[in-house]
């Protein structure tokens, strides 16, 4: 085979892989859309059930305060099952003071069997879409023969795939996160839509500064952290809604029917709050590492490890904002909603670093082509 022929063949393979990648991404979007409708069906069927657990819990509590006797708390007595077999001691837990004792909602299906079925279908479809999208990212990487994060198109498809991966991993770990499905898939569809329309880039070159194993370390952790922060932010937003809903009920207000129907089925605000705290706190050390890895790389590539380049600056701002959030949670008077607002602001910083800095601000990182 002549050299030219080999060259052509290689080019054709890459071309084919790139096309395959695009097809896979579009297919993933189609399946995500199906998953979206399945989640909608879950929520719709779920709205038939009239559980009203939150309201019940909060009104009983109010009644109790008004002088009526509250339902029993949990000073349970371990009872022997019989003479032969004794039951093991059971641990009784109770919420901290000041926290509302609201039970977690049953999830989107609201206890409705059909709703639950649709929910399961939705999760299966999400898994399928995730696998297809993952294939899309992989073939993209193979077609350009490097890591799939050289420009914003690649960033976006990788980011959304990782975010869904995090969600599915949490589900696989039997965490109570199915309630997040609809919100996540909706935004993933938006993200992919943006990627294939506005941000699409056929393929482009990497400058030698990007030829470093730090690229793999720094950028992959950055994308991963972003995806996890995103999952945390969804939890935070839902916490804010659920918290106002609970507040309204607790003060005797009457939330609207739609709000009741939706928020009723979400976990208790305290659970949502804890969920987003754990998620954010868990990745914060990794985010710290990401920034440090970036600094080490900058030290090797540009001769200084920190130079207040816009991208560096915004990573720092994001980091400080999340540190603020963690501090707020340990500071009297800042827990709850205020801390949640800080968490959202911190995520907004991350987003700005991701989109805003690439698009509006020029700096040394601006080779990440739009």
């Amino acid at each position: 085979m002549t050299l030219a022929a080999a060259t052509d063949l290689a080019a054709a393979t890459n071309e084919n892989l790139a096309n395959l990648s695009n097809t896979l991404i579009y297919s993933a979007m189609a399946v995500y859309t199906l998953a979206f409708f399945a989640y909608i069906a879950e929520w719709t069927f779920g709205s038939r059930s009239k559980v009203s657990r939150t309201a019940a819990a909060l009104t009983t509590a109010k009644d109790a305060k008004d002088g009526k006797k509250a339902a029993a708390p949990a000073v349970t007595v371990k009872k022997a099952g019989g003479t032969a077999v004794l039951e093991r001691p059971k641990v009784v837990t109770r919420a901290a003071a000041g926290a509302r004792d609201v039970p977690d909602g049953p999830g989107a299906h609201g206890g409705d069997e059909q709703g639950d079925l649709y929910g399961r279908i939705a999760v299966s479809l999400t898994v399928l879409a995730f696998l297809i999208a993952f294939g899309g990212v992989l073939t993209r990487a193979l077609s350009v023969q490097r890591a799939p994060w050289g420009n914003m198109y690649e960033f976006n498809i990788t980011f959304s795939t990782v975010a869904v991966g995090v969600y599915l991993a949490l589900l696989a770990m039997k965490k109570n996160v199915r309630w997040m499905g609809l919100f996540l898939v909706t935004t993933v569809l938006l993200d992919l839509g943006l990627a294939v329309t506005v941000l699409y880039t056929a393929s482009d070159q990497l400058v030698p500064a990007l030829h470093s194993y730090w690229l793999y370390i720094h950028v992959s952790t950055a994308i991963f952290c972003g995806a996890v922060f995103y999952v945390g932010a969804v939890g935070t937003i839902l916490y804010l809604f659920k918290d106002s809903y609970e507040n309204k009920l607790a003060t005797g207000g009457k939330p609207g029917r739609f709000a009741t129907s939706v928020l009723e089925r979400l976990p208790a605000s305290s659970s949502l709050d804890k969920f987003s705290y754990r998620v954010n706190a868990a990745v914060f050390p990794l985010w710290t590492f990401t920034i440090i890895a970036g600094a080490i790389w900058a030290g090797d590539a540009w001769g200084r490890y920190w130079g207040w380049d816009p991208k560096e600056t915004w990573s720092f701002i994001t980091w400080v904002a999340y540190a603020c959030y963690l501090h707020a949670r340990a500071t009297a008077g800042w827990k709850g909603r205020k801390a949640a607002y800080i968490a959202l602001a911190a995520f907004a910083c991350w987003l700005f670093n991701y989109y805003g800095v690439n698009i509006f601000v020029s700096g040394r990182h601006s080779y990440a082509g739009v």
Binding site: A61, V77, P89, A97, I292, G303, L326
Partner: protein, 633 residues
């Protein structure tokens, strides 16, 4: 509010209903009072699970009554001053102010990313100032063109770090005290703790306590027997991690500041075959920190042996650089032994504190200029500046002296050069098709006259100042301009001489030599910070108590309770595991009746209510059924 500290922990049981009506009254009057009372109920059990500073509110005016006379006034002023100083210090080192300062730090960093900074791009700052005549001076005054070294930004982070130190020191002492002391004894009512379990056993209370102590120690709790209970605590590494993290931040800041003050950064362009010795005069440009002295320049020298760039030849990434590397012969000290080393983009040459980075590269065609008599007046490799990814390059050739024109007069020559390493051939656009030397072509435009370099004004070596230069004309009267291949010569009209594009095109590389002391410390600090942070966020500090007493009917009652710094599912899980273990050692006996073993049942008519999740074998928090405690905060 502010009298409760660490509300998370100390009030673990405040949500519980109370049998005693008087407590209910208290809570109704003020929810926070309820918490404080409950906190008292837990005694010291929940205290100091964290060394976070407490919120202490001190009313203003510290001087108290002023006795008449000057002495009285002085004493009052002294008390007042000390009082306010302490108040200020308390504020500064409180969590709330730390939070606000962190907030300000992130806000303050924003303008620097949106407004051009003189540290990174001087010309952009100049452009901005030229464009915004009103905003420019205001920005200048506010230090917005150098945010990260401005007074106000420095003020924020210095205050933050004073606050940090003021926070760390007492916390460290407090923590050392905790390590030397023992975990606090069991609170009176274990039922009020977030995780609780109990059973009755035939084993003697002393035996149970002994076994519990052994078990807890085995599980690496710090445990001791206190009265009728065993008290244990674990997870001190959390605090260690947290303190290490905050100290590491200080180390990083100092290292960074040190680096800024003592750093230096110089650039030098070197053509293959040429050399460089590390002295100030050899640099093309040089910047340094405020406290840097050029005596600190590391003595070393090197010559650029060879520069190599390889590029993707095919595929969608055709032209993408694969490697850039410069092979140099260097020697340390004034006359050290010569060594070879390859410098790559991400792999600088390190000599002492200095690092030599490869930052740019380009082509340097070798040019020979002859005068009318055929004498060589100029022979040099001329570095040209690349314009695009395919190394289309431009530059100027300036023959400053030694040249005489056809009439024998002194004159200067100038050539505008345009270089394509891979020319596409006749009829294609005048841009290079590929970054390496596939088909090199040098395009030259010739001028003569005065280069304007004698005026002493600084001039770019890549640009020709044509103000006092005249064009050479070709036979058709047009500007003389030719494409040369290596080895070809262009004749200047009228016997003015010639210019030759020699074979053997050289390459040049730009080196940045930096010294940034303190980076080792910064790195060590950074990694300490990460590990400290991970310990601080992933490790739970928690306490466990095991109480074994003889009940009214003579049967031993075991009670176990757990308390964590924050509500975590892990505390009940761990308590469950411990209980299971202890249960094997002190097996349960059936209850005589349904009376809870608690000597004073907290809620008489609630006791027999079965737990909602009673059938679940594993403890699953929160197992508390819908209950009260819905105070709105």
């Amino acid at each position: 509010m502010s009298t409760t500290r660490d509300t998370d922990v100390r009030t673990g049981g405040a949500g519980a209903p109370d049998a005693d009506g008087e407590a209910d009254v208290a809570r109704d009057a003020d929810g926070e009072n309820g918490m404080a009372r409950d906190a008292g109920d837990l005694g010291e059990a929940g205290a100091q699970l964290s060394t976070a500073p407490r919120e202490i509110v001190v009313p203003g005016s510290f001087g108290g009554a002023r006795t008449p006379g000057a002495v009285g006034w002085l004493a009052w002023a002294g008390r007042e001053a000390v009082g306010w100083a302490r108040w200020f210090w308390r504020q500064l080192t409180s969590m709330r102010v730390a939070l606000i300062l962190l907030f300000l730090l992130s806000l303050g960093a924003i303008p620097g990313s949106l407004i051009p900074q003189s540290g990174t791009d001087e010309t952009k700052v100049a452009d901005f100032q030229a464009q915004h005549t009103t905003l420019g001076p205001i920005y200048e005054k506010l230090g917005l063109f150098h945010v990260y070294s401005s007074v106000w930004f420095s003020a924020i982070y210095i205050l933050l770090f004073i606050s940090l130190i003021g926070c760390i020191v007492p916390r460290t002492w407090q923590f050392v005290g905790q390590l030397r002391g023992r975990p606090p004894g069991a609170p009176r009512r274990l039922t009020r703790l977030p995780a609780y379990t109990t059973w009755r056993t035939e084993a003697q209370p002393e035996e149970v306590r002994e076994e519990a102590l052994k078990l807890l120690k085995q599980r690496r709790f710090r445990a001791h027997a206190a009265g009728d209970a065993v008290a244990a605590e674990k997870g001190y590494l959390r605090e260690v991690g947290n303190l290490a993290f905050h100290m590491a931040l200080i180390v990083m800041l100092i290292a960074f500041a040190w680096g800024q003050l003592f750093k230096s950064e110089g650039n030098k362009l070197i053509v293959e075959g040429d050399g460089f010795a590390n002295t100030l005069t050899q640099y093309d440009d040089f910047k340094s920190g405020n406290l840097y002295s050029t005596d600190n320049l590391e003595p070393f020298s090197f010559t650029l042996d060879d520069f190599q760039g390889t590029y993707e030849a095919t595929g969608p990434n055709r032209g993408t650089p694969r490697t850039y590397q410069a092979t140099v012969d260097y020697s340390e000290g004034a006359d050290g032994e010569e060594k070879k080393k390859t410098i790559k983009v991400n792999e600088p040459l390190e000599i002492g504190d200095s690092k030599v980075y490869l930052t740019a590269h380009g082509y340097a065609p070798v040019i020979t200029v002859r005068d009318g008599k055929g004498d060589v007046v100029y022979r040099q490799a001329v570095p040209l500046l690349p314009l695009d990814a395919n190394s289309t390059s431009t530059g100027a050739i300036k023959v400053m002296d030694g040249y005489r024109n056809a009439k024998g007069e002194r004159e200067q020559l100038g050539f505008q050069a345009f270089f394509l390493p891979a020319y596409g051939g006749e009829g294609t656009a005048v841009v290079s098709q590929f970054p390496s030397l596939l088909n090199p072509v040098l395009n030259l435009e010739a001028y003569h006259g005065d280069l304007g370099v004698d005026a002493g004004l600084p001039q770019s070596v890549y640009q020709l100042e044509k103000k006092n230069m005249k064009e050479f004309k070709d036979s058709k009267g047009k500007q003389l301009r030719e494409n040369l291949k290596p080895g070809e010569t262009m004749q200047l009209p009228g016997g003015a001489g010639s210019i030759t594009f020699e074979k053997g095109i050289k390459e040049w590389a730009n080196f940045q030599v930096t010294e940034q002391p303190g980076s080792g410390w910064a790195l060590a600090g950074a990694f300490t910070a990460i590990f400290g942070l991970a310990a601080s966020l992933f490790i739970q500090r928690r306490r466990v108590w095991v109480r074994a007493t003889t009940g009214a009917d003579g049967v031993t009652v075991v009670e176990m309770a757990g308390l964590g710094r924050s509500e975590s599912a892990k505390v009940p899980e761990e308590l469950g595991a411990l209980a299971e273990h202890l249960y094997d050692l002190a097996p349960g006996v059936p209850d005589a009746d349904a009376t809870p073993p608690d000597a004073t049942p907290p809620d008489a008519d609630a006791k027999s209510e079965p737990d909602a999740d009673a059938e679940t074998p594993t403890p699953e928090p929160p197992a508390v059924p819908a209950a009260e405690g819905a105070e709105t905060k």
